[in-house]
Symmetry: C2
Subunit: 331 residues, 2 copies
């Protein structure tokens, strides 16, 4: 049997309440008895049981984190931001991968609630009606990180994807491409729709009709970026500017192009999205939209702490600034 608060109380000749007080840093304890208790805690090697504490106090100092895939270079960065701020506020995180699978997502949310998390950070491309329903009836605060709920009814932290995509596309246009190609992820998600909208906006603004042939749907992977490049070079008189929805795909596009003897940026310019660490790990280095993943995670977690502390929050749908870094994949 493990040693409990009761054992400490007995050994120190005080009540459990007093022990509890010193363990919790309650100031209403005479320094002398505090010291005495601390000593016997040390001597006995007492370690508070967080589960019992959680049951009694209804606080677990644990938050749930539902993430599509922790092995993704994009999401793992977000997760790091979340954990760092969680740690700062004395929370631990229960992390679960959802693979963007709706059933799994819904199940995980429920599991988190069963585990009595004090809050939940949720990431996932598709926020369905069911998701909103489940999240809105949550017993604890929820924050979305890098994920958009069209109803705007759940607190969230994002960047302005549409504007970012608009700027990226515009850069290509300014550099001389009349109608840049867009290599998009194929899954339907609010984020993707916004990126697409931004792309379209830039095209239209330059008085062009959107040419569907210049929109290539890929799978969000490096390999599918290579495939996209192969498709592109088969387009007659293909445009010399390509906007790619993620850095990883963009690397694939660049290498696919190079493998076909096309030079970047001399022959074709490429702009990515995210600014993952990959962007500087290619030759040429990748011009891309900076999405501050770490910060999004950190801010989402920070937002959550405010809700958990019942602090006042002015804006519950935070939009973080983005920017475009020009590196060597554009002229």
């Amino acid at each position: 049997m493990n040693i409990t608060i009761y054992d400490v109380a007995r050994e120190a000749n005080v009540s459990m309440a007093t022990v509890s007080r010193v363990v919790n840093g309650n100031p209403n304890v005479k320094p002398a008895t505090r010291k005495k208790v601390l000593n016997t805690i040390e001597r006995l090697g007492y370690r508070p049981n967080a589960v019992a504490r959680g049951l009694a106090s209804k606080k677990t100092t644990t938050v749930g984190v539902i993430i599509p895939d922790i092995s993704s270079i994009f999401f793992s960065e977000l997760a790091r931001g979340i954990d760092d701020i969680a740690t700062m506020y004395k929370y631990n995180i229960i992390l679960s991968n959802s693979d963007q699978n709706k059933d799994k997502e819904l199940r995980l949310i429920n599991t988190m609630f069963e585990k009595q998390v004090d809050g939940l950070v949720y990431m996932g491309a598709n926020i369905s009606e069911e998701h909103v329903q489940q999240l809105k009836t949550s017993p604890v605060p929820v924050a979305l990180a890098a994920t958009i709920d069209s109803s705007e009814t759940i607190p969230s932290v994002n960047i302005d994807y549409e504007q970012a995509a608009y700027e990226a596309t515009s850069l290509l246009i300014e550099n001389g491409t009349k109608h840049p190609i867009y290599v998009s992820g194929q899954e339907t998600s609010a984020v993707n729709e916004k990126k697409y909208a931004g792309y379209v906006k830039a095209i239209k603004e330059s008085n062009k009709e959107v040419n569907e042939d210049y929109i290539i749907s890929a799978e969000f992977s490096y390999e599918s970026g290579i495939e996209a490049a192969n498709q592109i070079i088969n387009i007659k008189d293909y445009p010399t500017g390509i906007f790619v929805a993620t850095d990883e795909m963009a690397l694939g596009v660049i290498h696919g192009l190079q493998d076909n003897g096309v030079n970047v940026p001399e022959d074709v310019e490429v702009v990515g999205f995210d600014n993952t660490r990959l962007a500087t790990m290619v030759r040429p280095t990748l011009s891309t939209v900076v999405q501050p993943m770490y910060d999004i995670g950190a801010v989402a977690m920070r937002l959550l702490t405010k809700f958990m502390n019942k602090e006042n929050v002015e804006e519950q749908n935070v939009v973080l600034p983005h920017q475009i870094v020009k590196r060597n994949s554009t002229k």
Copy 2:
């Protein structure tokens, strides 16, 4: 107030014990009453409280995972393996980043115990005496993943780093480099020592003395790989084969070489270590040692489940097979 097992019992006209039985799938319940209970659970929207359950049963179905840095492309892959198997066995993971900081590591271990995890997967370069002490007196099973404890006293899952490094170096030697360069990580860890030992073994076996000038200590980052390359080309008559301790550094080395007009593999051959996804995301693609990160995580978690179930395990220090993939950074 939330709805409890007691509410369900009252509404269903049974005892809490019976409700508990159906919730836990205990077969000793008449189908009719099971159904009745299930219905009222559904109707009331009852959701079991895992914390209360944990306190009563002394099982939390949660395991702790201490990881150096989840945003690392290497460790995030391990984490994914861990979580997948954890999920398979109905466990959730509490994930915490240690940054390889000893104090933080020790503190995290303790936190995990306070949270009453049923087991712990630990990753970290340096297993000190204190670590061993704390881990050996753990109230729950522990498994090390991709981390070596020299005392071999704690269950672990690894590959044979020395042999792998030996093979990688030998490949370079076979390809014609008399004395390959080794770009190592500078932190002292058991894993690093083994890699170094393997390198040395290969050099000595080819009847050479180890030339300290050919051992370059870098920082495990892409950037320091580039720096290492810059150092290398300043070596007079530098060797034409380089073994690099991680893929990320290897990418840096390759790009650093290319930036200086050195062609890979024509002028210099490079072999990496790990086979992270980066290895196929460079040109030339990287020849490297395959370390099955995902599997290491998965097997470590599987091992842990065996301990938690008090199953019998034959070998508690698992060594997974490695291999070398030859891609285009070697001839």
